[in-house]
């Protein structure tokens, strides 16, 4: 049984690399990714699960890393935006001007990428349901929708 108070070692699989980190049991995955591993692509914004700026993939599924404890991530495969390499959604975001300030972008990209992997032929309704978990304050969402649609396979 892990002590809930003391810092201890965690072993995380992040972006295909096995990483050993020191963390408190109360530390969120977001905190450990950023502060311990320097993976600052995942962004803190509401830290309450409302905005999705901190979204990462856990075993391929989008998870708000502000709502997950780092200890819960042990034994799972974590992908952050730094782990996306030349994926279609990244290019599509650039081509479609799907960001302005870019602060929500990592979270949106992770969500969009997971959707494209899990539901490559997602309907508009499915896409809407998935992407409603993220907030963007700069764009009108039209650009993000377009970027996503361009990556999904046409049915």
């Amino acid at each position: 049984m892990r002590s809930m108070l003391r810092e201890g070692f965690l072993e995380l699989d992040v972006n295909g690399e096995h990483r050993k980190v020191v963390a408190r049991p109360a530390d969120t995955l977001l905190h450990v990714l950023r502060e311990r591993l320097g993976l600052t692509g995942a962004k803190p914004s509401c830290k309450n699960g409302d905005c999705g700026a901190c979204t990462v993939l856990v075993d391929g599924w989008p998870i708000k890393s502000c709502l997950m404890l780092a200890v819960e991530a042990e034994g799972h495969l974590i992908t952050t935006v730094e782990g996306l390499k030349n994926t279609p959604i990244q290019k599509s975001f650039v081509d479609n001007f799907a960001f302005q300030c870019g602060y929500c972008t990592s979270g949106f990209l992770m969500n969009c990428h997971a959707l494209a992997q899990i539901h490559p032929q997602a309907s508009y309704a499915t896409m809407r349901e998935w992407l409603q978990s993220n907030l963007c304050r700069c764009t009108s969402y039209e650009e993000i929708t377009q970027a996503m649609e361009n990556v999904l396979l046409k049915t």
Partner: protein, 778 residues
Amino acid sequence: MNTVGIGISIPKKESNDKVTGRAKYNTDHIRPELLHAWMVTSIYAHARIKSIDLAKAYKITGVRAIVTGDSCPILCGPAIEDWSPLARGKVRYFGEPIAVVVGDSEAIAKEAAGLVQVEYEPLPVVNSPAQAFQADSPKVHEDLAIYEIVQAGTIFPQPGTNILQHVKVKKGDLQKGWQESEVVVEASYSLPQANHIAMEPRNARAEIKPDGQVIIDSSTQGPFNIQKFISKYFKLDNSKVTVRAPLVGGGFGGKTTVHVEFIAYLASRAVGGRPVKLVESREQDMTSSPCMLGLQASIKLGAAKDGTLKAGEFTLITDVGAYCDSGSEMARGMAADCSGPYRLDNLHCDAYSVYTNHTFVTAFRSFSRLSSTFALERTMDKLAFALGMDPLELRKKNALRPGDTSPTMVRLNKNNFGNLEACLEKLKTLINWDEGVRVELGNGKVRAKGAACLWKTSSSSPNAHSSAIIIINDDGTLNLSVGAVEIGPGSKTCLAQILAEKLRMDVNKIHVIMEVDTSASPHHWKTVASMTNYMVGNAVLEAARDFIRQLKTIGGIVLKCPAEMLEVGSGRVYLREDPEIFVDIKEIGSGYQYPEGNAIGGQIIGRGNFIMPHLLPMDPSTGRGRLGPAWAVGAQAVEVEFNQRDFSYKIVRAATVMDAGKVLNPKGARGVVMGGMSMGLGYGSREAAKYSTGGQRENPQLRTYHLLRLGENPQYLVEFVETPDINGPYGMRGIAEHGIIGIPAALANALSAAAQADLDCPPLTPQAIWQACKGAGK
């Protein structure tokens, strides 16, 4: 020639960093030596601070310092000095910072902050602008009479009251105007405060070096502004303060002011200058740092039977919360543009800012012009209804034209105003206006359209200025350095496009330095007011001219001819009469070496600056004056599908036609306009700061304060008119904020038509519409 410059939709220069997580925002600098700060904030909206007990908090291991207002006896503020970075004596709004705890980690600082014991004596609160006006209302500031006024002649507080500002604009003969009016409408409006919600919460780091140099790293729109105010209030030479601003995660005006930077500085000072990082939680960002103003407005308009406006009377009372910041300035801006882009020869406007026990306010996208525009454009629709006239027709009939004057008597011409009529014409087609304002669809559903016009000039300091530096690299590419911060709209990319166009070279060969560092970057006033491309763009053009001049001088020596015979383009200096006789700029950019080995010249550095001429403060009794160089105008419409049974609605389409002067980056411009529209729809339909009867904020998080989400967005229709402004780079006008301005009004006009009720108080939730309809007996 492969020239890539303006008018082309090139993606933002920092695009690749932003889609790979490599873009660094201010909080992304993770360093082991950083200490972390957490603010203790007020749980009351108005209370005397009886005591602050730090003993328990200091017992937490890892707490390095706790700072309270007593260790910082200063009052500050850009217009009037009414604000202490940490409250002293009393708190005036819920969320007001009282103390800051510095600890080894954020968790430690936060835990200790929770143990700071503040004893309060609650005071009666001022909870609305109307209440603020009452003679027997509690006073938010008892010391208003002795506060230092920074901007004399621009702010007129009334000691003994809660009135902080009273701006008067008078034009023509109002009595004559009423006599000529055959139809008169009058209405009142109430608009709540709201939040900016930049996705990156406000944050800053501060450090004081052993030689006294203060380093502030901030997520800010105004690094030079921070430098100015930190040095002013902590009595430091301006050059002893360095402010750095990396990429900023959204601003919308909320990051123009100096707030957390003061507190971070105090925190660092308390730990011997060690670097301290202060990041606001979302809740603090929404309650402690400044928000968007609220407005209570009464407008009376008179017109002849044919719709010609004859008279207008405006009372605009802005709820600026507990401290002034730029609240008094926004009241001025609203007053100066009170008529909207309509010809109104007889008018009176009284614009006030009043203190309340709400969160204080600062600039909000459009300098809060969306609020006054809401009131005016709702009144225009009521007037159209009273006249039995088409609302768009009424607007077109009264549209300002070159030769008319603004409320503050600025003579309009096609440069400083543009072409509103063309915008209205285009809008009419774009939104299929002629198919009818209100169409019954059956099943209790109705489709309705509403329109609004917009105009806005900046409220710039008459001496606001910008500079630019161009440096050539050995490979012939250029580095462009400016003092504008990249907050999202792609200004840096647009500036590179302006430079590319002027030098007639590929924009990909121009690197833009993203970070601003006040000790290394040329100056820029603030990244605000849609003025970046205009002001900095002009500085870039001046720098480009200087750069070209130097290239030609050395080019003339190499090519053995007078400089006047040369041109610059495609990375070459060439003979105008025969471009095949040329020298590559990389051969001469860092000195030219003759074949024999000896060399002349040196690195070419282009420099330019810009200051806006002819700005004049407003006359206190008439308002005459000129706040900004030019307006951008536009027309907007919203179409809704409204369910008469349950008062729910869907926003189907939203349209904007803007006179952009010249569109520098079409996709970028469209995106910025749509972003503004999206924000306007959010404010019109759901966003509001809710306060309890005790003035406590009830919805300070994104779970209870709702923003538009993906899929709730309507179809956007955006088009541009291009009437060049001769003073704007390549004719451009500043439009970055403007997409928001008319949208809440257009939405309310559409919904009012749909529900056949006067919907005058956003946000227009189904419940609010139901209540308005019930009130109207429907």
